[in-house]
């Protein structure tokens, strides 16, 4: 398994060591989520090779890594798109019209209802649970940065802008980039320009 590491470059393997070093001695396993994010930042999702590589870095089995990876919704084992559009439909958003926004997101992104990703691989659309911004309901996030008080029209414009290659400024914070780059941020790597 260790003979052909294919996902992480030598530079990223060095980063992986820095990530595991954040945790107390003998507690490398704590780094499993950030390392899964690191692999996701290369592949846009986590493949079986990625799972193996994380296992190798942590000295645990691939099955143990897979058990973790399948538990958390932000670790994506299937292709998920460059831009993941999440629409919260939990109660506060539902009370303010989230269902229409979700339908509009599906239409605009070309992701069939019940499907996960557009044919060209550009968009994923997901129905999301509460995103803790209920004052701004209905909430839409793109790669998990927020666009407040959306409407079907606004989410359609948002998707079309992304398709044109624009990265519309979120309601708060800055756009983390595509899904791979967002995963890099979540791995806690120090891309200086990504820190506010």
């Amino acid at each position: 398994m260790e003979s052909h590491p294919s996902v992480l470059t030598p530079e990223l393997r060095e980063q992986a060591e820095r990530i595991t070093a954040r945790y107390p001695a003998g507690r490398r396993r704590s780094a499993v989520l950030p390392l899964l994010y690191l692999v996701q930042s290369v592949e846009g999702r986590v493949t079986r090779e990625g799972l193996r590589e994380v296992a190798g870095l942590l000295g645990i089995t691939t099955a143990e890594v897979e058990a973790v990876a399948t538990f958390y919704t932000m670790i994506r084992l299937r292709p998920t798109g460059r831009y993941v559009v999440s629409v919260c439909t939990n109660l506060p958003c539902a009370l303010r019209g989230a269902r229409e926004v979700l339908e509009a997101a599906h239409r605009a992104a070309g992701v069939p209802e019940g499907g996960e990703i557009s044919e060209d691989g550009m968009f994923g659309v997901h129905e999301e649970e509460c995103l803790a911004a209920c004052d701004a309901a209905p909430v839409v996030t793109v790669n998990f940065v927020n666009y407040d008080r959306t409407t079907p029209e606004r989410v359609t414009e948002l998707v079309e802008a992304l398709r044109r290659g624009e990265e519309p400024a979120p309601s708060r914070g800055s756009f983390p980039g595509d899904f791979k780059r967002m995963s890099r941020v979540l791995a806690g790597l120090p891309p200086e320009e990504a820190v506010p």
Binding site: L91, P92, C130, A132, A137, F144, P176
Partner: protein, 456 residues
């Protein structure tokens, strides 16, 4: 309204996130300076004397929790900040971090000093991409200013902070599940005892506090326990940030003393229900706290009174439904949340939430049976207090309370085979008024399954 005391949101008028310079200019890190001149035991005593109670939902006295962390066990002691805010309707931790992040960090450093911890973890919800970036910056700022690292402010006290991002799992807000997650496992809760204070992270003594709780701490230290007790009610001192959402004019976070009436928060601060409609139901503290109704608007929002009224203060997340909202639909949607977020460890929760969605879904769609109400009641009894953690109990809250206060509405859904609130016909969800396929059994009459037999 203008003379409402403000403790936690004093810097929220600032146009930008309050970074280190501005935080120091406005009195920041005075509480920490004062704490570091006291002994850890004195710090704990001050917090105990303030009566501060945990804001994450349980309301346990903060100083008492700190005093439970044993010293001299020969193991390291850890502080874990719970920033996995995910309870539906709750968004005050997020805004605390987005606007004035050093406030809770200062509180965390004081807490770590009090329990003599040298390593603190901030467990940041995975979806909080931007708040997490803020954390990275403020932690770096705190190292630069000498509030973190070796020999903090020349006192000889050392503390390192590690930011750990979650990856999308409501259950990780439950403190033992959070610890499992932080150790690199699936986020499943553990049996207590042993409590985290004694055997928490890496089986070492661990203090876990919520962001809002810690945001109070610098104020308690700087201005003293007596000052803090000047706000709120006797057993629930201080202020609380209430997150108000749903059918109100001005959804948002509002800081008010504990013990403020629900009417004041919902009607005065959040502007009341729009369009002159009648308020139908509200939660005092997120979806895991039982619904109350317009009959309970004069309840004082503190831990005791809300409990006496039959609910819980929880996280202070007030979700408001008006008279046009169908309570069966509302309950089905919340139950769907618990079914999605159940970690699967305990059978009553894993199966109960799943079945709950199905039974509620069929009532909503006009295919309910008279027996279903008894069935839902049984379901709740088979879930409540029967699982490792409180997720199952939380899931019962909307079901049991909506059955209690809106029994007629359920009966009419079943009797009239349609929604009496929206008037929609069988097979059609009231949501959108369109047929939908994601509500189980919405499309056709389902096979009858006697769940009470399955659960026994």
């Amino acid at each position: 309204m203008s003379d409402r005391p403000i403790v936690l949101t004093g810097r929220w008028g600032e146009p930008d996130t309050v970074w280190m310079d501005r935080y120091l200019e406005t009195g920041g890190y005075r509480g920490l300076r004062k704490a570091l001149k006291m002994t850890p035991a004195e710090v704990i005593e001050e917090v105990k004397a303030s009566g501060l109670r945990g804001r994450g939902g349980a309301g346990f006295p903060t100083g008492v929790k700190w005093s439970f962390v044993p010293q001299d066990t020969g193991k390291p002691t850890y502080l874990v900040v719970n920033f996995d805010e995910s309870e539906p309707g709750t968004f005050n931790n997020r805004e605390l971090v987005e606007r004035d992040p050093h406030q809770f960090l200062e509180g965390a450093i004081i807490a770590a000093y009090a329990v003599q911890s040298h390593t603190a973890f901030i467990y940041c919800r995975g979806e909080f991409v931007w708040p997490g970036m803020i954390l990275e910056r403020i932690v770096a700022e705190a190292y630069d200013e000498g509030f973190l690292g070796k020999d903090i402010l020349g006192t000889g006290y050392d503390l390192d902070v590690v930011i750990h991002r979650g990856a999308g799992a409501y259950i990780c807000g439950e403190e033992t599940a959070l610890l499992s997650s932080l150790e690199g496992y699936r986020g499943q809760p553990r049996l207590r005892p042993p409590f985290p204070a004694v055997e928490g992270l890496y089986a070492s003594p661990t203090l876990i506090n919520n962001v809002e709780t810690l945001a109070n701490v610098p104020h308690v230290l700087e201005k003293g326990a007596d000052w803090f007790k000047g706000f709120g009610s006797e057993k629930s001192p201080g202020t609380k940030i209430f997150s108000v959402s749903g059918k109100v004019e001005r959804p948002g976070n509002y800081e008010a003393p504990l013990g403020t009436t629900a009417r004041e928060v919902i009607e005065e601060l959040a502007g009341g229900v729009p369009g002159g409609k009648r308020l139908k139901a509200w939660t005092p503290g997120g979806s895991s706290t039982p619904f109350l109704t317009d009959q309970h608007l004069d309840v004082h929002l503190d831990f005791e009174e809300v409990q006496a009224a039959g609910s819980l203060l929880g996280t202070g997340a007030i979700m408001v439904c008006d008279e046009t909202d169908c309570m069966v639909e509302v309950t089905r949607r919340l139950t769907q949340f618990y079914a999605h977020e159940s970690c699967g460890k305990c059978t009553p929760c894993r199966e109960g939430t799943w079945w709950g969605v199905r039974v509620l879904g069929r009532i909503e769609a006009g295919y309910g049976r008279q027996e279903d109400l008894k069935l839902l009641d049984d379901l709740g009894k088979n879930m409540l207090f029967k699982a490792f953690c409180a997720l199952a109990d939380g899931a019962v809250s909307p079901i049991a309370s909506s059955l209690k206060f809106f029994h007629d509405e359920y009966e009419r859904h079943i009797g009239e085979r349609r929604c009496p609130v929206t008037g929609k016909s069988p097979g059609i969800s009231s949501e959108m008024g369109k047929e939908r396929t994601d509500v189980p059994h919405a499309a056709e009459e389902p096979e009858w399954i006697d769940m009470s037999e399955v659960l026994r």
